[in-house]
């Protein structure tokens, strides 16, 4: 343990921890489920491309979904078996979302792919990051962010690595157990990350309500004898395990909304992630399982090592939910969500399943008006004025909500926790954020539509113009003919006609030129504008990239095709 000073973050609350229920129970492997449902969707912006088809046999650790796009990582078969289907199935999401999943029936043999340790010392940084991406390594603290992206140093470089053992949410004990039982491998992972990034320090932050974990990690640090690794017991204060809060506590640096730790030379990883990285590098094992806590209204709460894709329903009997359980939460009670479906599988973000009963989590009492008591502002770790935000969000005054920094809200729930008027403040902030995003999307869609409209106008204009020109040319031709006829037969009745034609058509070419120039200028402007708003990544593409895009599009079409029969009819 180090004596270096810790910083404080403002706000925070001390909810009842309830960790005793499961903190003393060692990690036990969960039995192989009857089937595994492995979502290919990883976040709102990334879905892996399926590489297997129904009827195909897969090995444990085999890549079944390829990382596609910047925020994606590879998806693996958690055990050996038979692919039953690649279809839409419920995934753990507050809205009851369905996503494309690979359904595997385990054969019970646990036949591995050929495992090869990865020699990161002789690989380029890009190669290491690609390897981690292909091992499916993402943050296991709940945010699910791909680790290889976090390991890309910004211009500031990464000087300090932080291991997050905060685990500040009530009830959850999976990181606590992991630190107590597998401290050396966690630190091993951190040391590998230090080598990859060239960081000098590793700071481990653990809430001081987990003395055994602090003890185990400190002991492991001295056993490994690595320089520059310090373990810090930080005051237990929710949300001390929030990434930005922990960075603040350990380094004093505040990372604002929209910035990454790398902008400040710091990067923070969950202890479970460090452990997974260690396994990936030293054993070549991709991320196939995670530790999670089953707790709450359960007769036998505990911590389990569970294969990704295990249906939650199959997991529950391990901890034996009590009969008055009426729903289940995924994650902690402060930031988790109620599971709409128990057939949803365990995913990499599933750190905890809590059995909820009306006695344990009573329904929220009716809201009263805000009395501006300021309790919410006192506990807000983002240092916002939640009641002002609430006021603006409720009045649908979204501009004001943004001005009062609604996007800096980390949705930690501290404000709603303390509000004496029981206002569900976070719901209002989620709503405001969603509305603002939706409007921005609408606006860019509208911009695109306006552009199309203007362009069409220009085109009609141009066509009209061309028609006029053709007409003028015709008229000119006609005039010449007439003139010739007139020359041939002077002093006939056609002379006045020729004169009329001449006077009428003479000024026309000049006017037409001016209009044409104007239109050309407008067209050029529109073109320039269009170029400016087109996303850069589709400009100046090499032939290969274009080919790749075409291929991706084709695959997408195929996925859509595959997904179609299973899509609910109303979609």
């Amino acid at each position: 343990m180090s004596l270096s000073t810790l910083f404080r973050f403002k706000g925070g609350i001390k909810p009842e921890a309830h960790k005793d229920a499961s903190a003393g129970i060692p990690i036990a492997p969960a039995p192989l489920p009857s089937r595994l449902v492995i979502p290919l969707r990883q976040n709102a912006r990334a879905t892996a491309r399926p590489l297997v088809e129904a009827g195909q046999r897969v090995l444990k650790g085999q890549i079944i979904g390829a990382a596609e796009g910047t925020l994606a990582t590879a998806v693996h078969a958690p055990t050996s078996g038979l692919v039953r289907a690649v279809e839409m199935a419920p995934v753990p999401h507050p809205s009851g979302l369905e996503a494309l999943c690979v359904i595997i029936e385990p054969d019970g043999d646990e036949r591995w792919i050929d495992l090869q340790p990865f020699d990161h010392r002789n690989a380029s940084p890009q190669r290491i990051r690609d390897y981690l991406r292909d091992c499916g390594i993402v943050g296991l603290g709940g945010a699910n962010f791909p680790s290889h992206i976090k390991l890309t140093p910004g211009e500031a470089g990464i000087r300090t690595l932080i291991l997050n053992g905060g685990e500040c949410e009530p009830w959850i004990t999976c990181d606590d157990r992991l630190m107590r039982e597998r401290a050396e491998r966690i630190l091993g992972g951190a040391l590998i990350m230090r080598e990859i990034t060239g960081a000098s320090h590793i700071l481990v932050g653990i809430e001081d309500n987990k003395p055994e974990a602090v003890q185990a990690m400190s002991a492991a640090a001295s056993r490994l004898g690595a320089e520059g690794v310090t373990v810090h017991a930080v005051p237990a204060l929710y949300p001390a395990g929030g990434e930005k809060q922990l960075i603040r506590v350990l380094t004093g640096v505040e990372i604002p909304y929209g910035k990454l730790g790398t902008h400040f030379g710091v990067q923070c990883f969950n202890v479970g992630t460090a452990y997974a990285i260690h396994r990936a590098i030293t054993c070549g094992e991709p991320l196939l399982s995670r530790i999670l806590t089953l707790t709450g209204n359960m007769a036998r709460p505990g911590n389990f090592e569970v294969l990704i894709g295990t249906p939650i329903r199959e997991l529950l009997p391990l901890a034996d939910p009590r009969p008055d359980t009426d729903h289940f939460l995924m994650g902690g009670p402060m930031m988790g969500f109620a599971l709409p479906s128990l057939s949803a599988p365990v995913v990499k973000a599933t750190n905890c399943i809590i059995a909820a009963s009306p006695a344990l989590f009573p329904p929220p009492p009716p809201e009263m008006p805000c009395i501006r008591c300021g309790a919410c502002a006192q506990v807000c770790p983002a240092e916002l004025q939640p009641f002002e935000l609430y006021w603006h969000a409720r009045a649908k005054n979204l501009g004001k909500a943004q001005e009062y920094h609604v996007f800096d809200c980390i949705e930690c729930g501290c404000c709603a926790y303390v509000c004496p008027s029981r206002i569900r403040l976070v719901d209002y902030f989620r709503y405001a954020k969603g509305e603002i995003w939706a409007r921005e999307r609408e606006k860019s869609a509208a911009d695109a539509a306006r552009e199309r409209f203007e362009f069409r106008n220009l085109r009609t204009e141009r066509e009209k113009q061309e028609k006029a020109e053709r007409l003028a040319a015709k008229t000119a031709a006609g005039r010449e003919a007439v003139a010739r006829a007139a020359a041939a037969a002077p002093a006939t009745a056609s002379a006045p006609t020729a004169a009329t034609v001449a006077t009428a058509s003479a000024p026309q070419p000049r006017a037409a030129d001016a209009t044409k120039a104007l239109i050309q200028a407008a067209l050029d402007r529109a073109k320039a504008q269009k170029a400016a708003v087109t996303p850069r990544n589709t400009d100046n593409l090499t032939a290969e990239q274009k080919a790749e895009i075409a291929e991706i599009e084709a695959r997408r079409a195929k996925i859509r095709e595959m997904a179609r029969p299973h899509t609910p009819p109303d979609e």
Binding site: S4, T251, G252, H405, V418
Partner: protein
Amino acid sequence: MNNSPFIRKPATVRGVMLQVLAALLPGIAAYVWFFGAAILVQIALASAAALAAEAVMLRLRGRPVGMFVSDGSAVVTAWLIALTFPPIAPWWLVVAGTLLAIVVAKHLYGGLGQNPFNPAMAAFCAMIVAYPQLMTQWPAAGFTDFGAELQAIFGADRRLDAIVMATPLDSLRTVLRLPDTRATVAGILGSGATFGNIGGKGWEWVALGYFVGGAWLLWRRIITWHVPVAFLATLALVAGAFSLGGPDKFPGPTFHLFTGGAMLGAFFIATDPVSGATTPRGKLIFAAGIALLTWIIRSFGGYPDGVAFATLLMNICVPIIDMKTQPSVFGHKRQSGGDAP
């Protein structure tokens, strides 16, 4: 389906209000000790009027009556009215003041949480403008004859000569402002039964009671330190500065702090969250403003005490104070800590 957080502190509006009421008890005890049980009658009258008015207004506005009547906010307003009105004022005065506070100052502005003005102070100001005489008849310290007080409150024929005495602030002001007065602050304070050791006789103990209750609210984190500290420090500073400059004309800080509505104002009135500033810096400005205006009104104004008018004046400034003092947000200020080691 519910959303997170799924747990909440067992805090309620009623809980907050009940703690405020509890914090008033030490001051009320001292009040009864020095000025008799009449204040309890006034508190009961005001509370009953407030609850009745609240229920009627909620029904008229189509709000859930039970839920809101039991929130306790009307009772807090009622107690503050009773504690700022003279204890021997006729019963209808305190009832009228309370009705005004609940019906006009609170519900016509939108009810709980919406009122821009502190309802109790609005009632006080309205009544002192309408009935200046009734609002300035205070009992002498040590007068605890409950029968006579009841007679003053409910009797048709109010014989007050034996009871009434000018309050310390009032008599000081009156004497100091006599034309060609030779009186000095020291001289006046040393004379007669009106003045105690540090403030008004009896009143200094009531103020101490409020101080104790207010400190408890601070400890319970119902209020933050900003308002009481800024209020008391500002009042002490201006009073101190002027009494140094003109000791004969201006009483010193302790007199100001322990007299009139200063202590009640610092801990219970300026701390009203609904009508007060909410940001930390805003609270400092708001409370300092009330204290400064209070001192000015006390020293140069036409009314004996200034807390109520000062509060209303500062209530008007709250939106702009809050807007100009929005604190900076996590990560958006100058980095306070060191860089990563």
